[in-house]
């Protein structure tokens, strides 16, 4: 193959890569994309998409069963269920390919490396010449020392999707959002779930209200939670393993899922190309997604946390527009995070601590979902919402929500933060009734001291 010359070569076909390839092509550049595995990346093939596909039937099954008045035997045909999940990922991955081809992006399948300035070598294919390069190689599951993923008994988030028989029991190591989502869904389809987290609470690093909510939600669906605990030993026996925890507890499980975090997927040649990386191996970028080599950009997971597909989308677009000669920045005020438990959990913007550090006259108000009629109908009145705002300007700074459809609702908070809206704006915006979205109106009214559907009892003032 002769050397093809492209204006832009994108390395990686996940959320950090393909949107930029499409945008650059829309802007008139000649673009190629190199993907070593499946288009759509971790998100489409092993993350966001298949897990959400798994969660939906699990939640339906669970809620029908828990209603009590739906009679008869409900069961899951596990292999058909997993086939359906993979048909979803195939469809979405295929959609990415269709889009890229439709936009005239040339696809190359193979492992890419940077060989010399402006040259990308694709294993098994040859060299591509690139004016600019966008690196979007993402992250991969981290290993737990001494616990080797075998794809049989011990799995990571990728291999677990290959199982076709429902396990009777599973041990999940790691109580971050991946571990929490898998724990909830396996419990709901009738698997005995143990969840081990080394830190004192689940979802370490997140809002403590969320950690507590996660523990409560998982316990209700039957998950055994071990926080502040580690796995002392694992002894594999044919199709199961004997496990001992640091608290001395011993048990046997059929499957083990390692979900202890993620690490950057690096390609070779970064050093030579003068692309700077940080201590953890993430590529350093500025807010225009430029690396320390002016012709190389990076976006998505490989450009460092947050490790979120929607962050990657935006960065990829920013990179592409700058590559095409624009001068734009990745400067979001609000990057939402969602944990797909049931009810769902979502948060965006600043927490109280962070807002205070930024010098805001920080106030926060928390409100249970019990006052929202629709939340009761949906069976999740145990949820809550919390708004963080500046008491001088009433500007919304952050939002936490645990409720049905929280993943959809959070975007109202994101928009409020991005637009600089105040809680007064939220209180004066009419929300349809009955919906869970009324929580935005209610909690803002509560913050302003005048909620409609929540009783605030005035304590008589006392002279001391």
């Amino acid at each position: 193959m002769g050397m093809d010359r492209y204006d832009l070569v994108v390395i990686g076909g996940g959320p950090g890569g393909y949107p930029g390839a499409i945008r650059a092509s829309q802007l008139g550049l000649r673009v190629a994309l190199v993907e070593a595995s499946r288009l759509g990346g971790e998100c489409t093939n092993y993350g966001c998409i298949p897990t959400k596909a798994m969660i939906r039937p699990a939640n339906i099954l669970w809620s029908l069963r828990s209603m009590g008045f739906v009679k008869g035997n409900l069961d899951l045909a596990f292999d058909e269920y997993m086939e359906w999940v993979s048909s979803i990922t195939n469809r979405i991955s295929g959609g990415v390919e269709m889009l890229l081809k439709g936009y005239g992006v040339d696809l190359y399948r193979g492992v890419a490396s940077l060989t010399s300035e402006g040259i990308i070598s694709v294993e098994g294919i040859g060299d591509l010449r690139a004016g600019k390069i966008l690196i979007a190689t993402g992250t991969e599951p981290s290993d737990l020392p001494g616990v080797a993923v075998d794809g049989e008994v011990i799995h990571n988030n990728r291999t677990i999707l290959g199982i076709r028989r429902k396990p009777s029991s599973i041990l999940i190591i790691g109580g971050g959002y991946i571990g929490v989502e898998f724990a909830g869904l396996f419990a709901k389809i009738g698997v005995e779930v143990r969840l081990v987290e080394i830190m004192p609470s689940l979802l370490p690093g997140m809002d403590q209200d969320l950690s507590r909510a996660a523990e409560r939600i998982l316990r209700e669906s039957g998950v055994k939670i071990y926080t502040g605990t580690t796995v002392s030993s694992i002894a594999k026996r044919q199709s199961e393993a004997d496990v001992e925890l640091s608290n001395g507890e011993r048990f046997s499980v059929e499957k083990i899922l390692v979900a202890v975090g993620r690490k950057p997927t690096r390609i070779s040649g970064l050093d030579r190309a003068g692309v700077g990386v940080d201590g953890k191996g993430y590529i350093k970028v500025d807010d225009g997604m430029r690396t320390s080599n002016p012709n190389i950009y990076a976006s998505g997971d490989i450009a460092g946390p947050l490790l979120l597909a929607h962050k990657a989308f935006m960065q990829s677009i920013v990179a592409a527009e700058n590559i095409a000669g624009g001068r734009v920045k990745y400067d979001p005020r609000a990057v939402p995070s969602v944990i797909f438990t049931e009810p769902e959990m979502a948060f965006v913007g600043m927490g109280e601590e962070e807002a205070r550090k930024h010098g805001y006259n920080t106030k926060s108000v928390k409100m249970p979902m019990g006052g929202i009629a629709r939340a009761i109908i949906e069976g999740s009145e145990e949820g809550f919402a919390k708004v963080v705002y500046d008491d001088d300007t009433k500007q919304v700074l952050g939002f936490v929500i645990v409720s049905p459809h929280a993943s959809e609702l959070i975007s109202e908070a994101s928009l409020a933060i991005e637009m600089g809206a105040s809680i007064e704006d939220l209180a004066l915006t009419i929300h349809p009734h009955p919906t869970v979205s009324e929580i935005f109106e209610e909690i803002s009214e509560l913050a302003l001291g005048r909620p409609k559907h929540f009783l605030v009892r005035r304590r008589p003032s006392r002279v001391s």
Partner: protein, 414 residues
Amino acid sequence: MPRIEKIKLPDIGEGVAEGEIVRWLVKEGDEVKQFQSLVEVLTDKATVEIPSPYSGRVKKLLAREGERIRVGSPIAEIEIEGGEAPAGENVEEAVKVEEKPQAAAQAIEVGEKARQIIRAPPSVRRLAQELGVDLSLVKGTGPGGIITKEDVMRFYEENIKRQKQEARVAVQETVGVRPVERIPLRGIKRRMAERMIEAKARIPHVYLAEEVDATELVRLRENLKQIAESKGVKLTFLPLVIKAVVKALKEYPLLNSTLDYEKGEIIVKKYYNIGIAVDTEQGLVVPNIKDADKKGLFQIAREIEELASKAREGKVGLEDIRDGTFTITNIGSIGSTIGFPIINYPESAILGIHRIVRRPGYYEDRLEPRYYMNISLSFDHRFIEGGYASRFLAALKRYLENPLLFLAPEDEFR
């Protein structure tokens, strides 16, 4: 707790060991953002803008404009408030830093500044990025002080446009459909664009042209060429033109001056630094011959050779391009019959010279082969009348046609 960081001249590119500070884009005491351009540095390859690695306040500039600095030497000191995470540092690490015990005291300091977090929706922020508007300087008129697109546009019109005195060319974006190549406008080319826009925006140009009988000039050069060569000098017509121009400028000094419009003053220069426009691969460069009135023909010829080769190698220093008073450009070397150059602002006029052609002409009633050259003049009509400029051009024509008049010592022929 502020800390001081020294900014060093970074490794600019392959093989570049030093650079010349062309122009500081910030001054001491200025607030700068990370990646904001601090200084323009001219290397032997191009002009490079050096971005700030930190956000903070410019404490001290350690290099003067015009100074040559080695890569790795400090050029400025920046005072940084608190511990800001450098680019690419991940959030987890940043959170850890904040959890250190002394964070509380620091947080208040940081807070006062961050407090002014700008209230502007994403579309407005994007517009500001594209226009290069610093939102912290824009007053919001939207609800609750939110900055609107109109606020950004107003700020842009009133400040950036006026400040730079630069009419921005609205470039029609060819989005998507047609194949284009995007060539970044950098270094000398960028400066050329800025200077052309500035000159055309500020100066109402008027153009004159004249035909010169260059027969005597050609003859004179033929005679002098031998002598020049024996001294190792290649004599072109340009040194002769420069001598004639200086002579004419002395008689018409407004063409060797600058209009300070804001002050309402004409600055008439009593020195003659004659610029010569040199077309290089990196772009247009105009070095000048200093004190051309005090130099001999051969010396001027030698200096032209030096400057031209320096320009082509991209080695022209700030000293060479600074303080010009009048510019000459050789338009006809490739083939145009007549062209009208843009004035090298803040000068007041520029002379275009063209190819010398041999054709029949009348001399003392005889038709004979003669040499002719077109010359053109662009001048600043804000303060130079057409008659004045015409008389300058006529005088110049007279000198060029009778070279003895400008080669002879001053006063001799008055």
